[in-house]
């Protein structure tokens, strides 16, 4: 990539960073740091604003660059991701969004703790939420480092390290100074930029093919070198049965995990009522669905315009497919249009990462301060200190994420996002659904279902080929691989549900009828909701 690209892209990065810092300063003026304000932005966002923020929270750079890249490399099999990421929102809309808004205050643990003995349940749910967040965060940080290196051409170690440190520092500033209000506005700005950029590129691709989708597919198939096979499933996941089960496992994790992601759940608390939460999910589904439809066009467009071999030559994982497509659509390398489009895409990808990491950091600092600290602190600690703890926790989580991001920067961490979804689906979703819908659920059941999903998910990954036993593993030298699949979801999600059932059945105490009645009445009517 030439100097022009770099300068322009850097200018746009700086403009975005300056704009977001301005937002942070603006929204945090004259505000006292109440917990309501810090975790939930005062609960005064409109459904449309929250819908954009949810979309901004959810659509990561992995979606923007990664899925289009997979489609450009493997054709149809990349599309399977888009479908999973979207269908997951029906679980959120039907079973989670409104009820969680009605029952909880700030976190997932609030919903469960309302029915159970508070301390063990909060510690369990807080631990699993922080685990999910850190896994997701490290994936984003490492992604940021390699992405910036890739887009700016500076693949030197120093440039990547400084990118990771810079992203980490920015997210700590946004979160600890601006809280939920600043984070939300950054996500809204990012969602608007991302949608605008994607729409522009999609229109350019369709114009190139005179609006003929059929022609686009035919050219993509032809230039991919795979012919008709490019348009049907099987290129990536069609091999042996391990690969097939691996995809089924990932597909389950994607669909069930979204409803357990802490940074998605915390977004429902930023609107005043359950009805507003529902309407914001409807907005989000509209935005996310149209976004993933456009990534399909961009992926096949990259295969048709740039060519699968060129994409693979530039980056083996396909992450540069969209930037290369932008360069070509703008008039090719060296042209003004190409330079501008390329820089815009690079800046949008960077903005995407910043907004996503800010959302996750905020959610995990809420879990640390509101769930873990509040349960583990000494009894007479003063009340107002919770927000202060959350600010410090944000800085601590930022430091941990930077350290892990630097340690892992040369490793292939693509599996981490799938793993975060699998842990969310195995540890968070069962306990959430049981608490909301199962009359006989008990404290022991809640604790068992969290750990019974969390521990198998983590252990199975440690024993899987992503950690050892294959040339692409984290530790290619060692071999303690026992579990064949890369994604543990197929086993750990049923285990999470099973453990919750077993814990309840073996519980010494009877279920609390009155607490169940309270949860059910509150979740469906909103009585007593804050």
């Amino acid at each position: 990539m030439t100097d022009d690209h770099q300068t322009l892209a850097l200018l746009l990065f700086c403009a975005f960073v300056a704009a977001t810092l301005a937002i942070t300063t603006w929204v945090s003026r004259n505000r006292r740091g109440s917990a309501e304000e810090f975790y939930a932005g005062g609960r005064l966002f409109s459904p449309m604003e929250n819908g954009f923020a949810i979309a901004g929270d959810y659509m990561s750079a992995a979606s923007f660059l990664g899925i289009s890249g997979l489609i450009a490399l493997f054709g149809y099999d990349g599309m399977l991701y888009s479908v999973g990421f979207l269908v997951a929102w029906l679980v959120v809309l039907f079973l989670v969004a409104e009820l969680v808004r009605n029952c909880g205050r700030f976190t997932l643990a609030d919903v469960v703790a309302a029915r159970m003995r508070e301390r063990p349940v909060r510690i369990a749910a807080g631990t699993s939420s922080v685990t999910v967040s850190v896994l997701y965060l490290v994936a984003q940080m490492v992604g940021a480092g390699s992405l910036v290196a890739l887009l700016l051409g500076g693949s030197s170690e120093a440039a990547r390290s400084w990118t990771v440190i810079g992203v980490g520092a920015l997210m700590v500033i946004y979160v600890s100074l601006g809280g939920m209000r600043a984070t939300t506005w950054i996500q809204i700005v990012k969602a608007v930029l991302l949608m605008a950029g994607t729409v522009a590129l999609t229109v350019l691709v369709l114009v190139r093919f005179h609006g003929d989708f059929n022609q686009l597919l035919l050219s993509a198939a032809e230039r991919s070198g795979h012919g008709k096979d490019f348009l049907s499933p099987g290129l990536r996941y069609g091999g042996d049965w391990t690969a097939r089960f691996d995809f089924i496992s990932l597909g389950l994790a994607l669909v069930l995990g979204t409803a357990g992601l802490p940074h998605i759940l915390s977004r429902f608390y930023t609107v005043p009522t359950a009805r507003a939460a529902r309407r914001s999910v409807v907005w989000a589904i509209g935005l996310i669905g149209s976004f993933y439809l456009m990534t399909i066009v961009l992926g096949f467009g990259a295969a048709a315009v740039v060519g699968t071999d060129e994409v693979r030559a530039s980056n083996a994982a396909g992450n540069t497919a969209v930037p290369l497509l932008a360069l070509d659509l703008g008039g090719g390398a060296g042209s003004t249009g190409g330079t501008i489009l390329f820089a815009v895409v690079a800046a949008i990808a960077f903005a995407t990462i910043l907004a996503v990491v800010a959302g996750i950091t905020l959610a995990s600092s809420a879990s640390v301060a509101h769930d873990l600290y509040a349960s583990l602190r000494r009894r007479r600690a003063r009340q107002y200190s919770e927000v202060a703890v959350a600010r410090v926790a944000a800085a601590g989580i930022g430091a941990v994420a930077i350290a892990l991001g630097l340690l892992a920067r040369d490793l292939n961490v693509a599996f981490l996002v799938g793993l975060a979804f699998a842990v969310a689906a195995s540890a968070n979703l069962p306990v959430l659904l049981y608490s909301l819908f199962w009359r006989n659920f008990t404290t022991r059941g809640a604790v068992w279902s969290v750990y019974g999903g969390l521990i198998p998910a983590v252990v199975l990954v440690l024993l899987s080929p992503v950690v050892s036993g294959s040339p692409e593993s984290l530790f290619p030298g060692a071999d303690f691989q026992l579990f064949p699949l890369q994604n543990p979801g197929l086993v750990s999600i049923p285990l999470g549900f099973l453990a919750g059932w077993a814990g309840t059945a073996l519980s010494p105490e009877p279920p609390d009828e009155a607490k169940h009645a309270e949860t059910e009445v509150r979740s469906l009517t909103g009585a007593g909701a804050v």
């Binding site: 149809y76 099999d77 479908v83 009522t273 589904i285 993933y292 059910e520 009517t525």
Partner: protein
């Protein structure tokens, strides 16, 4: 705190255009032609000395609440089963039934492409159907229950504080 909640809630009720539009009283015909429940949502106010737990149990047993709950479940359970089955079938077919998925439909579009876009379409349709169902069949009754329950529990919480 309680007071403030009540006021905020009242404001929501008042400003809510959807509520105003339908606020013509009990017994009107709702979206599907079935009359809305005629019973008052909650049995008459609590006897003195009721605890919050008793109030919630009482509301849970009331006909009005059971109606809201069954309307919610009658939509959500079949719809969730349907979309989840359809998704699992799609993923399993995409990974195992290669020949079926590769069968051409129109031009370059094959069964796999139709099924994938079909997932998008069903997601959008179910979202629309759920939002409509909740708006027409559930929101109003739930809102009334919310006020009644809060009225009943308010006194208790103030005493406890």
């Amino acid at each position: 705190m309680e007071k403030q909640e009540g006021r905020e809630a009242a404001a929501v009720r008042f400003d809510d255009p959807w509520y105003d539009a339908l606020a013509s009283g009990w017994g009107e015909v709702d979206g599907t032609g079935a009359p809305a429940p005629l019973t008052p949502p909650v049995p008459a106010g609590p006897a003195p000395g009721h605890s919050a737990a008793e109030i919630y149990l009482e509301v849970q047993r009331s006909a009005a609440f059971r109606e809201v709950r069954s309307r919610y479940r009658r939509f959500v359970v079949p719809a969730s089963l349907a979309f989840f089955t359809w998704y699992v079938v799609y993923v399993v077919a995409a990974t195992t039934a290669h020949d079926l998925m590769a069968r051409p439909v129109v031009g370059a579009v094959n069964v796999a492409m139709v099924a994938g876009l079909g997932q998008f379409v069903t997601t959008f349709l179910l979202t629309w159907a759920y939002a409509r169902h909740a708006r027409l069949r559930r929101d109003r009754a739930a809102l009334d229950l919310r006020w009644d329950t809060q009225e009943l529990t308010r006194g208790i919480k103030e005493i406890k504080r």
